[in-house]
């Protein structure tokens, strides 16, 4: 088992990574301070792993809230279901919420924990690769709005993140690939050696090699923890760098309807769009962009944006959280392994948005 620390003063917390952690009460119980525990999960994950988790909580008053599975249910209406569960069980301010699931469950449970009685404890037990390497760490919580993804939420750090690598054996291949998009992201924005490691090991990762996956998760969480520790609340642009590909990706997700594209898939295509735009700015070479494209394709990820009008792209992108004084700002690559937040000349942005399957090819 690896243990990392997210260094945030009195809100610091450990991330445990290893096989068979789900039922480890020795890792869970030190972070539960009352007797009441609500496990929030979804209809896909609960039948597989709920019993093991509850087994580690004997002696506690444990209730469960099982949500439907999917990004399209990540809204205020389904958030309210968690509050109803808590209130029906008469849960008090000293209760603890545990998120058992992917990014949707984690984001919603964290938001519910932040807002229930103005704040109760919560624990992340992520069960998708994407949640393990990204969304379960760092305290971003929230729900979507019909007009914009992740527009409603707060920062709320968990007490502990328990990453059981065994659960990846039941993860559908499509979800595993989607998670790899966020893994690759760390290489692109700040860790060139990790990018090279991924290029070498992508076949093993796709094949589900447990020790390779554990290593990829560890390196990803180390990168994430370092960024979050330096800029917890995204006050500078540092934390925003974690959003490489996300402004394009959110536009795809919102435009195509939540759930049509997996978040990681939209981010993969979005990262290639960011690389394409970085090339048009003269920062990346065509070879660099090809290198990004090749890795994403080898990871089984989509690299062609959907058929969406430039205007629609721009409309969805205009509500991005990085917009400042009305001006769109994007995470771009000054070089592979070195991301920055920058505005981009509109004509270059439009060229990227209209490039379609010719991303990375200068006309």
């Amino acid at each position: 088992m690896h243990t990392l620390n997210v260094a945030l003063g009195h809100r610091s917390y450990p991330i445990h990574i290893g096989a068979g952690l789900l039922g480890r009460s020795d890792l869970l119980l030190p972070h539960i301070h009352g007797r009441q525990v609500l496990v929030v999960s979804n209809e896909t994950v609960a039948p597989l792993y709920l019993d093991a988790l509850i087994g580690a909580l004997s002696g506690y008053h444990v209730a469960t809230c099982i949500l439907p599975d999917g990004e399209s249910f990540k809204d205020l209406q389904h958030l309210d279901r968690i509050f109803t569960c808590l209130l029906e069980q008469r849960f008090n301010r000293d209760c603890t919420l545990i998120a058992l699931g992917g990014g949707v469950v984690g984001d919603m449970t964290g938001f519910a924990a932040a807002a229930y009685q103005r704040g109760v404890d919560f624990i992340q037990v992520p069960t998708t690769l994407l949640a393990q390497v990204d969304s379960s760490v760092g305290g971003k919580t929230g729900v979507n709005h019909a007009l914009g993804k992740n527009m409603i939420g707060v920062f709320k750090q968990p007490n502990v993140v328990l990453i059981d690598t065994d659960v990846l054996t039941t993860l559908p291949a499509r979800e595993l690939k989607a998670g790899l998009a966020e893994v690759i992201k760390y290489g692109l924005i700040r860790d060139l050696p990790f990018l090279a490691w991924l290029e070498q090991n992508i076949p093993g990762l796709l094949a589900g090699d447990a020790s390779l996956l554990a290593e990829a998760i560890r390196q990803s969480c180390e990168n994430k923890a370092a960024v979050v520790a330096a800029d917890e609340l995204e006050k500078s642009d540092l934390r925003a760098l974690l959003n490489l590909g996300h402004t394009f990706g959110h536009a795809i997700e919102t435009g195509m309807g939540y759930g049509a594209w997996l978040h990681g898939e939209a981010v993969a295509t979005g990262m290639l769009m960011a690389a394409d735009l970085s090339m048009r700015l003269g920062w990346l070479s065509a070879d660099d962009v090809l290198r990004v494209r090749t890795l994403l394709v080898r990871a089984g990820l989509p690299v062609d944006p959907p058929q969406m009008a430039v205007e629609e792209f721009l409309q969805h992108m205009s509500v991005d959280k990085k917009v400042k004084e009305g001006r769109l700002r994007l995470v771009l690559l000054q070089a592979l392994g070195h991301a920055v937040v920058s505005e981009a000349p509109p004509e270059l942005l439009c060229a990227t948005l209209s490039a379609g399957s010719a991303l990375g090819v200068l006309k």
Copy 2:
């Protein structure tokens, strides 16, 4: 104009109290950092004061969100309307929300500001006495749930509180009286000289004497600011003392249906119930309780609890935020001017809950 300070380190903010402050751009603009401003108000207040406020915001991109008036609309569904307004206008993270209204508008606007894009600025312009002396100060925000009042929310401090005493001239008498309940509360929990001052000046306050009202608001806000500065997040029991009468009161509000009793009315009756229970514990004399009752009656406030079964009272009270390890804790009076948080023997609590109109009378 009086100016008080809520001392919270880098989250400190001023409270300005005086006549004609609503249109004072010199007081508003220093606290608005972007160009986009959303004014949230309700159908009753907007026709009276929206124009004056907007007049002080010339040169800004100002949008409005007008909610229906009343506690029964303080829910997630109507909160979502604020988010829709913000997103339809493409408002970014550097926007500012202004709450123009009573406690419902203030609580919802503050929560929306805390959660929109994980946090934007907001300003309180309270237009009821209750909001001016209590809910606009201190950063408690949120909405109700069908199963419990104020169960969903977060702490979010405003940038400034602008209390225009002129708006009280249009406040219905019933609302003015309801506000006096929270004013009297400060005397009961921590300020015996203020209690005596109120006993002397209640006729003038009810008659709408502007200088007396301004003085009552100033003293109330000073008390509130002192408590909030010492215990912003209700980590100790200190801030909880501001909830005198509120556990009983919330049970009345939830049990009777949101809006049937005004919050201040429910708190008034709740404070007399707390005084009654304090007497049964041997802390207050019958004369003390009579003194509380007399002042509330002179302020035109209800002092008889509604016909509600003891079981129903207990059920609604059991979701109170002060419950710890399953045990109900109440704000009670060790003496007039000295509140404490304490458990109470169930038989004494039941005696209070079943006393009906005989509150304060030992059988």
